[in-house]
């Protein structure tokens, strides 16, 4: 579904990503984990084109994503949904308007857009909040709306960039539950996360990054039970409490 080939990205002095190669298969859930500054968020953002890499290619479903080919590139990006750490709901729009805007902008009739929006808002359990402004919702509710908003565009892949990092602890689970539900419906997902419990139980595969490189890549159970590299073992010993 997604192929990342020889991707490199620099921020002035920092080599954020260094020759990354990664394949995400159809309906697979891949968690990117690693210490802060390891490049996992940058990788996630590069896949959607929010960051421009120095080198490397992104392929979607066997076709290269090339920003120079504007029309096709825009169509390709529309097939990928993105969920941000800080939700980024439109502050000046209600929950329902947040979900509808991109649809109506793309030419969907507003009655149809409303129907689709309500379907997804119901799925994330927030149908009754349709007319609220984002500022009236809790962080967890905002993130669930943001997930619904992305799903409204019927993407084939969903990218989650630390979706629970900005949340109060007691709101993390409601968001992870929604994500798990999305995964169960067969969505291909790439999730940057610090939630090891989620990574262990929901992901098919773990990609462990450090210093802009992929250090280890394995099936999730195997990664948590038998990490192969010293770096991963060291990381897990620091983040897992047992």
């Amino acid at each position: 579904m997604i192929e990342v080939k020889h991707l490199s990205k620099r921020f002035s002095e920092l080599q954020a990503l260094d020759d990354i190669n990664l394949t995400v298969h159809d309906q697979e859930i891949v968690c990117l984990i690693g210490p802060s500054g390891s490049g996992k968020s940058t990788l996630c953002r590069c896949i959607h084109g929010l960051e421009t890499p120095e080198k490397g290619e992104i392929w979607l479903d066997g076709e290269q994503m090339n920003p120079a080919d504007k029309v096709r590139y825009a169509a390709q990006r529309r097939r990928i949904g993105f969920v941000f750490q800080h939700f980024n709901l439109f502050h000046n729009k209600t929950v329902l308007q947040n979900c509808m805007l991109a649809q109506t902008a793309a030419g969907t009739a507003s009655s149809k857009a409303e129907q689709i929006s309500m379907e997804y808002l119901t799925r994330v359990g927030l149908a009754e909040k349709r007319d609220e402004y984002p500022s009236k919702l809790s962080g967890g509710q905002q993130q669930r709306v943001a997930i619904a908003r992305a799903l409204c565009m019927s993407p084939e892949v969903m990218l989650f960039d630390e979706p629970t990092s900005a949340l109060d602890p007691e709101m993390i689970k409601e968001v992870l539950d929604v994500m798990k539900d999305v995964g169960r419906q067969g969505m291909t997902m790439v999730v940057v996360t610090h939630e090891m419990g989620f990574a262990c139980k929901v992901a098919n595969r773990i990609v462990f990054l450090d210093g802009g490189k992929i250090v280890e890549e394995s099936a999730s159970e195997e990664f948590f039970e038998h990490p192969k590299t010293d770096r991963a073992r060291d990381f897990l010993s620091k983040v897992l409490y047992d």
Binding site: L50, F90, N92, A105, A106
Partner: protein, 223 residues
């Protein structure tokens, strides 16, 4: 209280205040159009547009407003005569309004640009990831949010304009301060007319502040 405050004289002052307000309104509107155009130029990727807008802003922010008014009223007609050989009669109100507008346009350019760029980057990125085009993004998301941030400084710009319109008295246009000076000269008493002019300026600026607070409260409905 002196004999100055006859109905006719007070009406004369009110007429002066009306001109002050009118000049400020012209300047905020024309300057607003200039501000929108130049902030768009500044945010564009065109180097030429960017350079033109930057030169304009620096020129009008970097020189005294009185100089600009005198230049428009006294300088440009000379330039016109040198180039065409014919005389030009400049109307002090029109020239004054134009000078104020160009000056205000420079400030408004920066104000609008800062308002747009001040909208959280995440809002732009959310539009980007949802495939919302530039036009819709600006109209539905960025500008409404920028507008909220622009209103308070725009109101203080308007208040500044109400006061700065008094500079137009230098080119002989009747406005509030000029009216006060006319009465002062006539009665050999500047104290009372100046106090009355001050009260009238305060009345206009305080009302403006009060209106803007109401508007701000309205706009913050979604915060």
């Amino acid at each position: 209280m002196s004999e100055i405050f006859t109905t006719a004289n007070i009406l004369f002052m009110i007429r002066g205040a009306g001109y002050s307000l009118l000049l400020a309104l012209c300047a905020i509107l024309l300057g607003g159009i200039l501000g929108v155009a130049c902030s768009a130029a500044k945010l564009s990727h065109s180097r030429i547009l960017n350079a033109i807008a930057t030169i304009y802003v620096e020129l009008f922010r970097g020189t005294p407003m009185l100089l600009q008014i005198l230049f428009f009223f006294l300088g440009i007609p000379v330039l016109y005569q040198r180039l065409t050989g014919t005389r030009m009669n400049a109307d002090p109100y029109i020239v004054g309004a134009l000078a104020l507008s160009f000056n205000s346009g420079a400030y408004q350019t920066e104000l609008i640009r800062a308002g747009i760029q001040g909208v959280d980057r995440g809002q732009w990125e959310a539009c980007e990831t949802l495939g919302i085009g530039y036009g819709t993004m600006m109209k539905e998301v960025i500008l409404p949010q920028a507008f909220k941030r622009i209103v308070p400084p725009l109101v203080s710009e308007f208040i500044t304009l109400i006061k700065d319109s008094s500079l137009i008295s230098n080119i002989g246009a009747l406005e509030l301060l000029y009216a006060a000076q006319v009465l002062g000269k006539k009665y050999y008493d500047y104290l009372d007319p100046l106090i009355l002019a001050g009260i009238m300026y305060l009345f206009m600026t305080v009302i403006t502040s009060w209106l803007s607070r109401k508007v701000e409260r309205r706009l913050s409905a979604s915060d």
